[in-house]
Amino acid sequence: MDLTALWWFWILLLFIFTFLLGILAVMAGVGGGVLFTPIVGSFFPFHLDFVRGAGLFVALTGSLAAGPGLLRRGLANLRLAMPMALIASTSSIAGALVGLAMSTNIVQVFLGLAIIFIVFVMLRAKKAEFSVVEKPDKLSQVLKISGLYYEESSNELVEWKVHRTWQTMILFVLIGFIAGMFVLGAGWANVPVLNLVMGTPLKIAAGTSKFLLSITDTSAAFVYLTSGSVLALITIPSVLGIMLGSFIGVRLLANSSALCWCEELAKRAWDMGVKYES
């Protein structure tokens, strides 16, 4: 049976898959590219270059759709996101250029290695629901990065502040470069860095990470749009699925813990990474 002849089946499956991915991705603070690219690249009959292009738009549009709800609820913080976004979006352009210039085989090997590394980070990183920041650092005070959010699950207002701001900024250079190169989004790294290094509460880290992707992935999206690497047939159903799923994900994030999803995503991504490497 010629599976490619059943194009409508693959498109429908893509839509359902990205819809579910949209719900999970918001709760984990990731774009979804880290799962989309390996899974669709492995199990769907599409060329990896076009899957990567679609993966980038999945991450971008999912975060654009989630952004309003996160910002309105105070689960994403604009003052925290803007400096990190500027650093990451600049370095993601450089990463996208390097990624597109490399041959598909080399990208596949590096993609496998990168995913295994990401899983390692996600599994090993301890997460702090409410971080303790004794004293905010000078830079975060100058940038006025702090806030207050309503924790719906415990019905209380939580005040937060951050530290180690310049160290976080350096890490975002690296995050942006890898994100642009492999089109994996960067939520896998954003959340642990914002949560563990900077001391942002986990929900704010997940929400701000998701929102950040809408800015950082924009620069790489333009590079892909002008490089002929975006195939409408697979990108559009993926975009629609992730956007609709993201609307639901934001509502769920406000009420539940983001912790368990990260581990679930990590386990799934590990299998994909091993498959790519071999």
């Binding site: 105070g74 002008t226 002929g228 409408a232």
Partner: protein, 118 residues
């Protein structure tokens, strides 16, 4: 209990919300037009042009869809441009500069000057 959110954050959220809704509706319609063959497909005939050359081809269903994706991609720039006057009014010089440089970086990426491929 309601959390007070800065004005620029609310403005950003509002633009993103309306932009997303309009995009979902428009993209759905354009995709139906594309897969039903109401507009012809280009991608089957030859390779995709590099840069913004494909804008000349929006009469084809696949490139009409790409045009709407491009609109979505520009949403962030529109949001930044909308909050710049608010940052100026608040005399928030640091964030004004960050917003301005971010817009320039995104416009550089959008310019098509940065093109790579294999």
């Amino acid at each position: 209990m309601k959390v007070e959110v800065p004005k620029e954050q609310l403005v950003y959220a509002r633009i993103l919300w309306y932009g997303s809704i309009v995009s979902i509706v428009a993209i759905t319609a354009a995709y139906i037009v594309y897969i039903t063959g109401i507009l012809p497909h280009y991608i089957e005939l030859t390779n995709t042009p590099i840069g913004w050359e494909w804008l000349r081809l929006v009469m084809y269903g696949d490139f009409l869809n790409l045009l709407l994706l491009t609109f979505l991609s520009f949403l962030t720039i529109v949001c930044y441009l909308a909050i710049i006057p608010l940052l100026v009014a608040k005399k928030d010089f640091i964030y004004f500069v960050i917003a301005l440089v971010e817009v320039l970086v995104l416009l550089l990426a959008a310019s098509g000057l940065i093109v790579a491929g294999h």
